[in-house]
């Protein structure tokens, strides 16, 4: 037990040091590298807290998409960020430090005074788990008990994507997003991008599939699949489709639409919005997940890709 606590303390100190360095370092590129490592440390913390579903999400997001997004942005902004050397003066920094320390102190006070025994919804979630047909309580919360949240989340992801698209120049409206690539098709990266994605797709679908009964699920699986797609494009083996393509737009909205249709059908079949009729919970949950999957894969990858930057070749 003492070993476990020692590991926890070491991990906590390490993550604090990493966060402090990420904020304090002068070079933006170095800061982004620090943040990628910080995400990895966070994954270890989730495992130590025995929250494997969250750890999987963090591993896929932090390891794959967030790193690619921030590193890409830092690379494009490199020249300008280097010129910004000035920092706020002593007064501003002192004020900021005092404010931050106050917030930390207040939150620490709250953490030390959390009610004991802790309130929990776990027994309630466990009691009705049988009626949903899924074995993983987190999946049950996401798609049965609080499915409204999940629907709104998918819509938020889509709205963010539309926001990104709307930032395109007028002349590129409806065009293709682009990653920074310069790889030749014979290089090591192209080789890597030919070998890894087929296996990666299997892993992604596996993580998605076991989500019904074990830690995993559509968000984690979709993130892995999106990362594989980005890898293929980043190696120059494929290109993003123009965002004006009909199939792309249909797949993007299909997930939320199926979700909503099943949700509102609940009024007729089960007497409440987002209620599932007896005995049909599992197949309906599965239908929603399968419909959401392409939406999430495309939306997450296109969010990393950013606004359209060129018109498709005629």
């Amino acid at each position: 037990m003492t070993l476990a606590l020692a590991v926890d303390i070491g991990l906590a100190l390490l993550i604090l040091a990493m966060a402090a360095w990420t904020i304090a370092v002068r070079d933006t590129f170095a800061s982004v590298i620090g943040f990628v490592t910080y995400g990895l440390l966070l994954t270890l913390v989730w495992v130590r807290l025995a929250l494997p579903d969250v750890a999987l999400t963090e591993a896929a997001m932090g390891g794959g998409l967030t790193g690619a997004l921030l590193i890409g942005a830092a690379a494009r902004l490199r020249r300008t960020e280097a010129t910004v050397r000035e920092r706020p003066g002593v007064f501003t920094r002192t004020l900021a430090a005092v404010l931050s320390a106050t917030v930390t102190a207040a939150l620490s006070f709250c953490v030390l005074n959390l009610p004991d025994p802790a309130p929990t919804l776990a027994p309630g979630a466990a009691a009705k788990l049988g009626s949903t047909g899924v074995g993983n309580p987190v999946t049950a919360v996401l798609l049965a008990y609080r499915s409204m949240d999940t629907l709104l989340e998918a819509i938020v992801v889509l709205i963010a994507l539309f926001g990104v698209w709307s930032l395109a120049h007028d002349r590129f409206w409806g065009g293709c997003p682009q990653l920074r690539t310069h790889a030749d098709s014979e290089g090591i990266l192209a080789y890597f991008a030919r070998i890894l994605p087929p296996i990666g797709i299997i892993v992604g679908v596996y993580i998605f599939w076991i989500g019904a009964d074990f830690p995993g699920g559509k968000f984690q699986g979709a993130t892995i699949l999106a990362a594989m797609w980005l890898l293929v494009i980043g190696a120059g083996l494929a290109h993003f489709p123009p965002v004006s393509q009909a199939w792309l737009r249909i797949l993007l909205v299909a997930g939320p639409l199926v979700f909503m249709a099943i949700g509102f059908a609940g009024i007729v079949t089960a007497g409440a919005v987002f209620a599932y009729p007896d005995g049909f919970a599992k197949p309906l949950i599965l239908a929603i997940e399968i419909a959401l999957m392409p939406t999430l894969v495309l939306a997450l990858a296109l969010l990393v890709a950013g606004a359209p930057q060129r018109m498709p070749p005629q």
Partner: protein, 98 residues
């Protein structure tokens, strides 16, 4: 048989841990990026490989065993790719010289 497998696990995991030690020492002590890269890839391939090898007898056949082997293969592939790409970048000047 169980004892023999356990001893195998202990030795293999310790050897793997040693390579992580060596990788860290190399990363900290070697003078230039290319030699550091060599230390890094040693830890990647051998350190993780030996840990995986040592853990194989302790896992449940077949799914966990296959996953463990897959993890090592991913790490090998990633290590080889990253090693080459980083070496090219390092030769070019390692990005931004300070």
């Amino acid at each position: 048989m169980k004892i023999a497998l356990d001893i195998f696990t202990i030795f293999s995991v310790m050897a793997g841990a040693f390579f992580f030690l060596a990788g860290t020492v190399g990363l900290l002590r070697f003078p230039d990026p290319l030699t550091r890269l060599h230390a890094l890839t040693k830890a990647d391939n051998l350190g993780l490989g030996l840990v995986v090898l040592g853990l194989l007898p302790q896992t449940h056949w077949p799914l966990d065993t296959i996953k463990l082997i897959a993890i090592w293969l991913f790490a090998l592939l990633a290590g080889a790719t990253v090693g080459q790409l980083m070496a090219c970048t390092a030769r070019r000047g390692g990005g931004q010289p300070k």
